[in-house]
């Protein structure tokens, strides 16, 4: 798994790529969310478009990011969930919690609303 971060229109876009599988790697994602809050960034867009494989450990990390940001008064939204990830979100009812987008511009604009 790789993590890439960039700021755009006041939103931190965190992009994951590769396999999001259980193990120490996942701590880095957790840290990325925590760092955002520490830097007073409260709008985070998580781009999952390049994630080739993900399981419940990945969902756990996303939920923990949601909690971290919500507590700080911010929001975590999801961009480019693959078909397989959408399936996981639906099975676990997390689809009722997360706003998901397939278009970056739309996703970024939604934070201003």
């Amino acid at each position: 798994m790789k993590i890439h971060e960039k700021m755009k229109d006041g939103v931190l876009i965190i992009s994951l790529s590769g396999k999001v599988i259980g193990g120490p790697d996942l701590m880095n994602v957790k840290t990325a969310f925590q760092n955002a809050v520490n830097q007073d960034i409260d709008s985070v867009l998580l781009d999952l478009g390049k994630v080739s494989w993900m399981d419940s450990s990945g969902l756990g990390i996303i939920v923990s990011g949601h909690t971290t940001l919500s507590r700080a008064g911010g929001a975590l939204k999801i961009l480019n969930a693959t078909k397989k990830i959408n399936e996981l979100l639906i099975i676990t009812k997390l689809s009722t919690i997360f706003e998901t987008f397939s278009d970056e511009t739309e996703a970024l604009a939604s934070f201003g609303e």
Partner: protein
């Protein structure tokens, strides 16, 4: 393919190689390309549980995966060294309200949904054995 057995220490480092191996075995047994990742997710969820809950993440304790293919289905046994107790096993359905935001408790739920057939039981020796049956079209 009959008699495949994979014994692994309870270390997360083996999960990624295992995931690819399971997909390769699935492909060889005739699982369709776009179902392979659902198969590997299901198996990995159960293997992680065996490592964590069954073996207490002790690298000296093993999870053993047995794979046998029969007419139009593949059967996986995922055994660990613990003894599973039904009363300690929540997580078979999605949480509601606050529980929905738990960082855990989704593994069995996902495996059951993707694989459709996942049963908890015990080996002849009384250790935890999870049986997953994957139909082949």
């Amino acid at each position: 393919m009959r008699g495949i057995q994979i014994q692994l220490p309870s270390e997360f480092a083996v999960l990624e190689p295992l995931q690819i191996f399971i997909e390769g075995l699935g492909a060889a047994a005739g699982v369709e390309e776009d179902e392979l990742s659902s198969l590997s997710v299901s198996v990995i969820e159960l293997v992680k549980n065996g490592m964590e809950h069954g073996n207490g993440s002790d690298p000296g304790k093993m999870v053993t995966i047995s794979v046998d293919s029969f007419d139009s289905r593949i059967r996986f046994f995922i055994d660990d060294e613990g003894t599973w107790a039904p009363e300690n096993a929540p997580g078979f359905r999605p949480g509601e309200g606050e529980e929905l935001l738990s960082t855990r408790g989704r593994g069995v739920l996902i495996a059951r949904n993707l694989a459709r057939w996942v049963e908890y039981g015990l080996t002849p020796e009384g250790k935890t054995r999870v049986t997953l049956i994957w139909p082949l079209n």
